[in-house]
């Protein structure tokens, strides 16, 4: 079998031979295995390896991107030839170019600990056992007579990428992931509430005990029984780490070069200004050891660097790729996120709950959307009422609405408990005076 580097080199050679004056070629290969267990029996086993070769083609000042999973050499030649011909009929675009090679400089030789060398030695039987034990643990809890169904899953992946640019960049990245999850359905008077728990890591040995995940999933679900709709009003809202990233993610589109250049961002012209409470500091950190978003170079080959996005509420950087940076006559930063980290506070979720007399704890969002141009947003929520600093009855079928600018100015607390199983490492977030619709 050809090595990733050889495949990418073959691709670049074909692109240049077929008429691309410059090109970036990237070869991706990924294997994903998953084992599903349900109600005491094996449910599904999936195992597949996918590969693709993608080409960013620069032909006579014109630009296109194509990819294919058909890597037979004769197909590739015809495929690229056709793509080059199509590129030639597009409009010229003087802002399209590979990154300036100065952005390839300074690549550090550092092990980010993304690859578990033990992966190949984990037996299919062990994977099945983990899924089975997770499912059994969920059923072992008190009040398990209410449980209707439990599903669990073990999954792991191996991803490899090799990038090669005609103006001198080459880079290889590989990583493994391991996830274990359980989801539980229970019955109550009105329906069949469901909830789940999961954990993941870059190394197999960092996965928590399956019992922890199974029990957490069952307890989370049983706590949802008898949920009702609360009253409409203005609340203090605590959002738990697992879902707090949903709120931060609404800023991601408006921070992008494309939204800004296309006049579709509420953050246009806000550089250096306060866009959130001074408690909010966000950094894009590509070098986090074993992070899900860690990388040495970004998806344009530019050397990855820590990027302050918001410092004490003040907007410091946009996500700018080469193209939109050129269009806006700015320096590129990066067009994609790596690990999004927040400056942490000194209390965890439970300590924050104890500080709130009356409020709402949000444990999941349902649907909703945001308007990146105006900052208006509206999201379904479920969670719990907080009364006298304690978690009270479960609530659901309610909705949070607001505008991102005033909403993030009303951030009054940041937890010390970031959610570790994602590249968006949100801690508990506490907001004052949020508008929630219910009865």
């Amino acid at each position: 079998m050809m090595q990733p580097k050889e495949i990418a080199a073959m691709g670049l050679q074909i692109a240049q031979k077929k008429g691309a004056q410059s090109a970036a070629v990237s070869y991706n290969r990924s294997r994903n295995v998953s084992i599903d267990w349900r109600d005491g029996a094996l449910e599904k086993v999936e195992d597949g390896t996918t590969q693709s070769l993608s080409f960013e083609l620069y032909v006579d000042g014109r630009y296109s991107v194509v990819s294919t999973s058909d890597l037979r050499k004769e197909s590739l030649a015809t495929f690229v030839e056709s793509a080059v011909a199509t590129t030639r009929v597009l409009a010229e675009d003087k802002d399209r170019a590979l990154p300036d090679p100065k952005y390839y400089q300074g690549l550090i030789e550092k092990d980010l600990h993304l690859m578990d060398p033990q992966q190949a030695s984990i037996s299919p039987q062990l994977k099945r056992d983990l899924a089975r034990e997770t499912e059994a643990a969920a059923r072992s809890v008190k009040d398990n007579q209410h449980i209707l169904s439990v599903s669990s899953q073990f999954s792991d992946s191996l991803d490899e990428t090799f990038r090669l640019h005609s103006n001198g960049f080459e880079g290889y990245q590989a990583g493994t992931t391991f996830f274990l999850s359980a989801s539980v359905s229970v019955h109550d008077k009105d329906g069949k509430p469901e909830e789940f728990a999961y954990a993941g890591g870059r190394y197999f040995k960092t996965l928590p005990n399956p019992k922890t995940i199974g029990i957490e999933a069952a307890e989370r679900t049983l706590a949802r029984r008898g949920s009702s709709k609360g009253a409409s009003g203005k609340y203090t809202m605590i959002v738990e780490p697992r879902v707090a990233g949903r709120l931060l993610a609404m800023m991601r589109g408006p921070l992008s070069g494309r939204s800004l250049q296309q006049k579709q961002s509420y953050l246009e012209g806000k550089m250096g200004q306060s866009i959130a409470s001074s408690l909010l500091t966000i950094t894009d950190n590509p070098h986090r050891p074993s992070g899900f978003g860690s990388r040495l170079f970004d998806n344009e080959g530019m050397t990855a660097k820590a990027l302050p996005i918001i410092e004490k509420g003040v907007l410091r950087n946009y996500y700018l790729d080469t193209y939109y940076a050129r269009k806006m006559e700015l320096q590129p930063t990066t067009g994609s996120t790596s690990n999004v980290e927040l400056a942490l506070g000194d209390k965890d979720k439970n300590q924050w709950i104890n500080t709130v007399k009356d409020g709402i704890l949000v444990t999941s969002f349902l649907g909703g959307n945001s308007n990146g141009l105006t900052g208006d947003f509206s999201l379904g929520i479920q969670g719990y009422m907080i009364r006298n600093g304690q978690i009270a009855e479960p609530i659901g079928e309610m909705n949070l609405s607001g505008n991102l600018l005033p909403f993030f100015q009303n951030l009054i607390g940041v937890g010390n408990d970031p959610f570790l199983y994602s590249s968006l490492l949100a801690p508990t977030l506490v907001f004052d005076q949020v508008e929630i619709a219910g009865t």
């Binding site: 094996l42 449910e43 599904k44 086993v45 999936e46 195992d47 597949g48 996918t50 630009y63 296109s64 991107v65 194509v66 990819s67 999973s69 058909d70 495929f79 056709s82 793509a83 011909a85 199509t86 590129t87 009929v89 597009l90 409009a91 675009d93 399209r96 299919p124 209707l148 599903s151 996830f179 359905s185 009105d190 329906g191 069949k192 509430p193 469901e194 789940f196 999961y198 949802r224 409409s232 203005k234 589109g253 006049k263 579709q264 349902l366 649907g367 909703g368 959307n369 308007n371 509206s378 999201l379 659901g396 079928e397 909705n399 949070l400 609405s401 607001g402 619709a437 219910g438 009865t439």
Partner: protein
Amino acid sequence: MNWSRRSFIKASAAGIAATGLSSPLWAKPTAPGGTDASVGYFERFGVNKDIIRKVMATALETGGDFADLYFQHKVTNYFILRDGAVNQAYGQVGLGVGIRVVKGDQVGFGFSEDLSLSAMQQTARTASVIASGAAGKVPDTFQFSKNLPSRYQTQIPWDQVRAEEKLPLLNGINEKTFKMDKRVVKANITFMDESEAILVATSDGKLLEDIRPMTLLYLTCVAEQDGKRESNTYGVAGREDRSFYSSDRIERIVKSAVDRTTILFDAVPAPAGEMPIVMAAGASGILLHEAIGHGMEADFNRKGVSIYSDKLNKSIAQPFVNIVDEATQNGARGAINFDDEGNPADKTMLVENGILTTYLHDQISAKHYKLKPTGNGRRESYKYAPMPRMRSTYMLPGPHKEAEIVQSVKKGIYCENFTNGQVNIGAGDFTFYVKNGYLIEDGKLTKPIKDINIIGNGPKVLEKIDMVADNLVVDEGGWTCGKNGQSVPVSQGIPTVRVSSITVGGRNA
């Protein structure tokens, strides 16, 4: 990761992950059917009946009850107009085979992008780990299914249309958009065309081929007025060829996108809390998709985890409520000639005269319930195993008139245009996001509203649909349904209906 939630995302320029260019390599797709010895389209990749039989034998050698092979070749092209020029194109070619082995309710699945016999046999072995026992029986021959329906009557396949023939469509729409309203400052157009061939072979001897076209086009505009900006999108999609883009349709795309954007300058915040709502005919079918469609997918019911699991044959709505899921509308985005398991796909009544009549089945759930499959076994691609999915879901016309429905509401909102929705299958809670609508005050549409989420509970909301108009519209938009990480194209529709009470996620609670 997609857990117990089913999300529903409208395709838009912002949602494009990867994309492609037309490839003349596959210039002449064979007509579906092929000759008796042939496997039609996939012969060009070296696939024949003997190879299929050998791979099937490997898949069944550990004792699986059933196995199927799903070959797919898909060429997708996107052209994007931004800042007045079509200056970016994206293309993607996917080629592979998914191999599934079923033992009871259990599934083993693998896929290969290499269609050589040895690579496919290795994948078949991976899928066969689900079973352990004596080898299952392989059919002696595969019978090509003939006389299949033909629901996408495209004259010229997309892979025979050159890029330069597609560009004038985008440039023309751009020009019309700026001409229509001086307040327009940006126009973004995304055009997609797709040529897809599939071949399904099953261990009960079926062999079916289909050539599925698809196209979609989205126009997003940004307008400015008195230092304020607003933006909105209108899109169309179907299993159609170039003739889909008639001058009428182009006019509608431009006018709808511009009108939906500029009306937002006058929008006021929507109220918050429980109130009656009126859902306009067409895209409001999103209500059905979330409130009942997903909950009726038989995999959830087989596992007993859907809120509808114990409601079959019970009255769940007013007697004038009839809801269907079907695959037969010519050229619809949700149309298919047969499903991805090779089963006939026709019309399924979900609710008839207010009574819940049947779930949406794939092969596994149909066997579990001892029923015929309903043709809802669908999959995103060869990389995924099929599961029960919707196709085109809508409500049939009812006894009321739109005017009387609006007049009946003293204080509420009218919902017209949507971006996305989501549902919790078990609890039944669902949402949809309203991009455009109006306040209803004393039976009249008054001020426009925008950007609010509406949240309700499926069975409770169905009971509260108390008026249904006679004006059914199946929406022409490019709806895409997501479930367990797989996306499939769907259609949706509804006549104008009233929901007597639901929670509106507005402001100033």
